[in-house]
Symmetry: D3
Subunit: 272 residues, 6 copies
Amino acid sequence: MFFHEPELQYEVTVEEPDPHFAKLLQQAIGGQEGEMRVAMQYMFQAWALPEEYEGYRKLLMETATEELGHIEMLATAVTKNLRGSSKQMSEDAENVASTAAAMTGQNPRQFLSAGQSAMPVDSNGVPFTGGYVVASGNLAGDLYANVMAEGTGRTLATRLWEYTDDPGMKDMLSYLIARDTMHQNQWLAALDSLEDPLPVPASFPQEEENQDVNYAFMSTRRGQQPDPEAPWTQGTAPDGTGEFSYLAEQPGDGDGVPPAPDPSTYSVPEDE
Amino acid sequence: MFFHEPELQYEVTVEEPDPHFAKLLQQAIGGQEGEMRVAMQYMFQAWALPEEYEGYRKLLMETATEELGHIEMLATAVTKNLRGSSKQMSEDAENVASTAAAMTGQNPRQFLSAGQSAMPVDSNGVPFTGGYVVASGNLAGDLYANVMAEGTGRTLATRLWEYTDDPGMKDMLSYLIARDTMHQNQWLAALDSLEDPLPVPASFPQEEENQDVNYAFMSTRRGQQPDPEAPWTQGTAPDGTGEFSYLAEQPGDGDGVPPAPDPSTYSVPEDE
Amino acid sequence: MFFHEPELQYEVTVEEPDPHFAKLLQQAIGGQEGEMRVAMQYMFQAWALPEEYEGYRKLLMETATEELGHIEMLATAVTKNLRGSSKQMSEDAENVASTAAAMTGQNPRQFLSAGQSAMPVDSNGVPFTGGYVVASGNLAGDLYANVMAEGTGRTLATRLWEYTDDPGMKDMLSYLIARDTMHQNQWLAALDSLEDPLPVPASFPQEEENQDVNYAFMSTRRGQQPDPEAPWTQGTAPDGTGEFSYLAEQPGDGDGVPPAPDPSTYSVPEDE
Amino acid sequence: MFFHEPELQYEVTVEEPDPHFAKLLQQAIGGQEGEMRVAMQYMFQAWALPEEYEGYRKLLMETATEELGHIEMLATAVTKNLRGSSKQMSEDAENVASTAAAMTGQNPRQFLSAGQSAMPVDSNGVPFTGGYVVASGNLAGDLYANVMAEGTGRTLATRLWEYTDDPGMKDMLSYLIARDTMHQNQWLAALDSLEDPLPVPASFPQEEENQDVNYAFMSTRRGQQPDPEAPWTQGTAPDGTGEFSYLAEQPGDGDGVPPAPDPSTYSVPEDE
Amino acid sequence: MFFHEPELQYEVTVEEPDPHFAKLLQQAIGGQEGEMRVAMQYMFQAWALPEEYEGYRKLLMETATEELGHIEMLATAVTKNLRGSSKQMSEDAENVASTAAAMTGQNPRQFLSAGQSAMPVDSNGVPFTGGYVVASGNLAGDLYANVMAEGTGRTLATRLWEYTDDPGMKDMLSYLIARDTMHQNQWLAALDSLEDPLPVPASFPQEEENQDVNYAFMSTRRGQQPDPEAPWTQGTAPDGTGEFSYLAEQPGDGDGVPPAPDPSTYSVPEDE
Amino acid sequence: MFFHEPELQYEVTVEEPDPHFAKLLQQAIGGQEGEMRVAMQYMFQAWALPEEYEGYRKLLMETATEELGHIEMLATAVTKNLRGSSKQMSEDAENVASTAAAMTGQNPRQFLSAGQSAMPVDSNGVPFTGGYVVASGNLAGDLYANVMAEGTGRTLATRLWEYTDDPGMKDMLSYLIARDTMHQNQWLAALDSLEDPLPVPASFPQEEENQDVNYAFMSTRRGQQPDPEAPWTQGTAPDGTGEFSYLAEQPGDGDGVPPAPDPSTYSVPEDE
């Protein structure tokens, strides 16, 4: 179960409110790389783990809880950027057109739907979706999903950092970037603590997979190309089990033409 | 530009058509872990790479092209499972109720919308969405996204393999599982070929991030807990730059209460 | 069955067309608080009601029909704001950059997809979704959903009213705001006409619910806090059945660790 | 900021695992009436409130935090219903068809995507969306949204309660139904504590709305009907400000035909 | 503006209620081929048409209005199939497992969310989306969209007709299939009444398009294939303006490698 | 199976990069009228066709393959417009506000999520969805869907052409407009090659449809109107089978009131 204190995890100040930046910050709340995604992702991953993975379950759950606090920080940042700005819609508008123009350059729903506050949407106003959450039940697969989530999340935060000059916003983002550094590293450390997790899922009996193509790079160029002698066409594969090879052409077999559908589907295009 | 031959990349046969399995296979076409996702993901990643990453651009584009062929194989598998089965809706039904009952246990849209064929949807009938695609412009971040996609994709394929007894389907899945083994390995090999890609994005000046919390595991338990002395609370972090430490408590700072919204939002709840 | 007359329910004039305002108006058509939602919501609610609720069924259906006319008024307002304006894209552009810039400040799809007309989307261009519609089959629950829909819809309309100076638009919004006043009131009057509708659903035997926590405010603060002596921690509850009380701490029971998943899910992360 | 303890808020036991019920429970997690919605809704509402609404801000935030714990309880219930059942897919299947048939009667993604665990989706497998969240910035409007959310949520829980015989599940649902009773009552008590919140938003100057139709029930029947003398056509309106009246016909004004679109839209359908 | 009468456009009776068929019928309400789509599509198309297309505007609006009545008929059919059936969940269940199994074979939300009634979703429970609506502002393009909508809609209705034995349902579907016949024909007649509508948009100056490839079928096979001498590689094109020709190979030009992104995007994958 | 060459199908150059135009171009990639839609649509249609439609299967598959190359051209155009422009965010900004304002006028995710490159979304940033794809299994229905897709797609391309002055972009769009001309014509030629495809699906026994209303235009005006004597109220219908007639009024039959729902749904709104 969860608890909450009114204090933020880290201070959020805005020197010069900027409703445009409030729109950009939404990506870090409800976007594909945002904090709602990682909070939900780590929770659902944790809830799937049985007793023997207790340490990982705690790791996931504690970080999920921290991410909830990051949503809170970012929502605060959005609201502080929307309110009290001299660039606000109603104050600097000389006529209807310029008002609406200013507003549409922002996220109009932050005003129209939310009264100048944050929303569970991304920087284009597209709602957060549970479809972003990856929780496969296989811990190694999930940890790679988490490395990716923190990597793209940190990239997002650095891009936001680059485009604000506000000292308060820079400071908050510097904190969130640091936490993403930690979280990337902790998921990688957790992966390192597993024995032979590759290829995911490692528990599948590898002899059941097709042995002709499981370590072969297959060229899909129109004509045959020479082996590029790249790290993915020769040498031992990272899973330590196979040797990379090179296939200059896709095998090809069968033409895939299906049987006719049932007459009851009325798929025959012509009058009979 | 693209080319196509009528031959499949690998043969697809179905001994005993099973419309229920046709529903499950949709997850591998239009699902979060499906082939539409990786085909689109690798393409958009490739199209973002400038000249200096030419080798990676080719790697991504050739594999994207292969994945298009996997969508084709799976669509063929779906159609062959839907057509000509003795378990088909219209043939084994004695009355309306049992017909409809059988159908609703399947994916009804494969019949109603598609005339017994495959669709760009997942195993619950939810349409494929571009929101599944991760293409950040940062190659290291993208490669981790690809390791994850192939890891969860291979897990999906093994689960499908486990639940079919059809020799043709087992054979096709054994082929796809093998390709996922290769693809996981090739993305990891590509990651290994980069110099110091961590933390993603590695080009951000790390001195700009908050130095107090960038390698600290932060407990979010209600009361202070002792250091679990886990691989993520001590030792050198996987990025080789920092040393893990342990914080028994979140820092906490400020209460996040925002300024009042503009009167023009009519957010005051009472008549004044 | 439905009928239609070419006349609008209320006149829609635009003195000074403004394509930016046309973007904002979309929220009132296809947004979460928009007219498509209430039209569909009231219809589906009505169609679920059996004979004994005939009066409510008529009430819902007549208002649903009115809301269809409001979509029509708003679509007219959008089109009139998009066409013939001196602020239009093609006329005031000096070069390609300023044209495109002006356009992207608007909703580009109103031009690109719809030829300067209205669309079933919100002010960020996100399509209307059936997921906004609430029709539970329980009349009391549905009437509260309707009070909410009209309350947030009226709030939206007042915000649009605040940000336009066009007399025609102000007049149309003044009419729609008035209708929302009526509709809020009529749903509340309908709620008042029910006997003991609380708690929704009132027909559930209340003795079957857990009697320890059904009127207790439960604090989720980290440490125990004193009873705030608020209207929700003491006194008789609005449903007239229970007395509010205060729990300074969540009960807490069991740790939720699940059994291990089936081996056929290949969730074991390591090679065995 | 948030904290978490491994204990559940209330015990979750399952006597007889049932993967079908695990599908139904998803509605209470990621559905329109589910706990993800209320948790997010109460948070975003709280984060928008300025200092003068501190008491309401705390009320919302504490309840949001409790709802996070309800997601956790339900996810635990889902996983316990999916694992270890004699009705599980792999164990009771005699052949591929019956296996897949059993699976498709369940939510296939709980197996294929999540390894027998819970997901952020509804009972049809449709992902949770931020579009369910209502947070208007106007406290009265938001409180009505919360009454509705708890009313439809409680209705959902009673329907789930009705369709399970498992004593553990009945007990958990009895607890959640009780909490929904409390939450409905607390939002109504909070509404009662406001002075003149109607019509929402009450701070809009009511003289600005059209005075002819703001308390008139408008019939949309094809022919004129007599006043039904219903509680919404006569008497004082619930907001205490107006008197209901009856209009037997919609006013009607103007035909809404728009100007022609710009030639640059190429909307002219014929070759000129 | 709209009007409504309580009478249905055509009688809806159900002899033997069947909750499974109620799930299938949802496709005709909220699906891609459903009545919500055409009702909204014809309305938005009509609202975009200026005065000179008054006849078409009326045609579209009158048919849109009829489609609203079809939603009503189908919603009635759904509810009548869900209620009072001996196959209903609560009555024929001997234990929890078989109850839930029966329910999950149906659309669980029709029970859980809607109390045995219709919803604005498709046969997989996916909500209706405004993204289905096509209204381009170009009348010829829109009329082809309408022919398609009625063609796929009629196909859906025939498949539903095929799979029910209920005389009432067969009769209702026979009526709806007939209306789809009329509507297909009326849109084709409207297309025929236009002068030279091809290629859509016909008002674009055709000399501005690339003259080398505007009537050439371009083979995308890997190797050059002979001209198939098909109706689309030779003869006069249906628009009456060009002559079909055959290109055995795609032209091909340039490699599409983009410039490097701005350093502020931190897209460089390595530490520098 | 598919193949790919690094060459583009047609050259893509940008003289003056314009990040605003990059936003508009997204509609042609991931929008309702975009190239992702047609590529996927033609593929899924092709994969459903049995042997007797081999010529159509090839036609569909070859064009699908070409469309993949159009996505590639457009993605290249987007990236070239985003990178190296003097109008780019970071270079021409004097302070944070103007930077963010410039960015929000663009698609912020092209920068924040994709590092100045293309995405599988439309011009409002809404992700591509499989819900746009129409593949009914009935070839005639599908060919009309394709005529529509190319018609609305060509309309989109002409609108983009109208709003750019960049010679490179005009040239690329001139090429794509030409291909859309060809594709519209080829689908119409394919329709012409079918015998009696109307009404879709033509294989349904037309005597089973209601014979009273299958060629009657039904007025939905409030009062009876005279026959407009339009091409859709008189004369032979385009399918060559029926004669149009005119009904001045909808038939009307039955009131659609459903039976009461099961008590286990707790739909009774009052305490009993």
